[in-house]
């Protein structure tokens, strides 16, 4: 058996009906959502499993993840979480089309999160959502909400119109650094609405391809953010790559460093190996953890980079590919487990 240890969960999806945001919206958006809902853009990929784990639907009805009491019982108490970072799902709004509407939805959600979730349990901490459709409006929202004591992160969608290192997005990173908040990037709307195709070769046929290839999006965003000098411009910025996979990271670091040796002159603002910026500024969350037939292979892979210092445990509750903290990474050394399941997040989020 494994030793018991404290746990911080870096990716917990609280949900709500569209109607729940109506009281938090100003006109003209309030009437629009009351009449027609938010109108999220879906990726269109069908899964027979569905997005929600079936035992998380509240007995009284409503969406999985919409009942704080059930979340406390089923996740926080059952797994003895010290903190759960509530990430919501509103970041997906960046795949829609109207920047003003998307910004208004994020502001309404952030007010809703603070009013109706964060005070409900001592374990709840919030990731405030901003839309990438207008980074200046996003920065304004970070300055409006980012100082709240229970807001510990800014979350944006990995489904975007262009690589997230582009200078167009920099106001978001500047505001996050100014407010002392890490920026999390989360998948979900890849291929939907205004976002790019979900793989580098376009639109695959099935969800199994869409889901497996989400790591591609993360690889492209990470290379962009490092090479565009985001961490040089904003040295206090921390980036959290949520739910994008982990196993791809070591070979990407090798490839990027190799290319840097020849192509440094095209990115002269980078004064260290690109992989060093990743080690110094980036965190990756565990779920959905890769599960090789031989568990030792994952441990070998962790040893190829500074895994125990840059990985954060996440469950993805209440989604279908939930990872329970007592079921994954059981073969890691106790010290590495303590860091991944608790200490890294405690430090990153100042908890």
């Amino acid at each position: 058996m494994t030793e018991s240890f404290k746990v911080i969960d870096a990716d917990v999806h609280n949900e709500q009906d569209d109607a729940a945001l109506v009281p938090y919206l100003p006109e003209p958006w309030r009437s629009r959502v009351a009449k027609s809902g938010i109108g999220m853009a879906g990726s269109g990929y069908y899964s027979p499993v569905g997005v929600m784990k079936k035992d998380a639907i509240p007995p009284g009805g409503g969406k999985a993840g919409s009942d704080p009491d059930l979340m406390v019982k089923q996740l926080v108490e059952r797994y003895d979480l010290e903190y759960a970072i509530l990430t919501g799902v509103i970041y997906n709004i960046s795949a829609t089309h109207d920047p003003d509407f998307a910004a208004a939805i994020c502001s309404a959600y952030n007010d809703f999160l603070i009013a109706e979730w964060l005070g409900k349990h001592r374990a709840f901490k919030g990731a405030m959502a901003v839309s990438t459709l207008d980074p200046v409006l996003a920065a304004r929202e970070i300055d409006r909400i980012g100082g709240h004591p229970d807001i510990v992160e800014v979350i944006i969608s990995s489904a975007a119109r262009s690589p997230l290192g582009h200078r167009y997005y920099h106001p978001i990173y500047e505001a996050a650094e100014r407010n002392g908040l890490p920026v999390a990037i989360h998948p979900g709307a890849e291929g939907a609405g205004s976002s790019t195709a979900p793989t580098s070769v376009g639109y695959p046929a099935r969800y199994i391809e869409w889901h497996t290839n989400l790591s591609q999006t993360f690889m492209a965003h990470l290379v962009s953010i490092v090479t565009e000098g985001v961490f040089v411009k904003y040295p206090g910025l921390r980036l959290v790559l949520v739910e994008g996979g982990i196993a791809w990271l070591p070979p990407l670091m090798w490839r990027l460093d190799k290319n840097y040796k020849a192509l440094r002159s095209t990115v002269p603002w980078l004064t260290k190996m690109p992989s060093e910026y990743i080690r110094d500024h980036c965190f990756l969350t565990t779920q959905p953890i890769e599960e090789p037939d031989n568990p030792q292979h994952l441990i070998d892979l962790f040893n190829m980079f500074d895994a125990e210092n840059i990985i954060l445990y996440s469950s993805d509750y209440p989604h279908w590919d939930f990872d329970a903290p007592d079921m994954i990474l059981r073969r890691l050394k106790p010290e590495a487990r303590r860091k991944i399941f608790y200490e890294n997040a405690k430090k990153l989020y100042n908890l």
Binding site: K53, D55, W320, D321, F322, I328
Partner: protein, 118 residues
Amino acid sequence: MAVHIVLDAADVPEGGHAVVELQGREIGIYRIGGHYYALNNYCPHQGAPMCAGYVSGTTMPSDVYEYEYAKKGEIIRCPWHGWEFDIKTGKSLFSDKVRVKSYEVRVTDGKIGIVLGK
């Protein structure tokens, strides 16, 4: 070996299931075509409550772009990660090595009995 009477046969409707507790374990009893099958309410992957999963049929191995839907009402899908298991055998549909624990069921005089031990 011991047979433990847990329910009346009529307690489990055709196509339905009931979860009982027996010696500290939860066991789901499923009724398919008048026969009863018993599965541990615990997924071998990460310990999900298996019996909260949907029951359905599924697509069987087939030629490319052919879809052969079969085993209607005989497949349970784990409520967390969606792994499929055959209710009649407990075997997963993706590997011979992965299965949910199943128990022998004996129905006598309208009572459902579960066989524990060898």
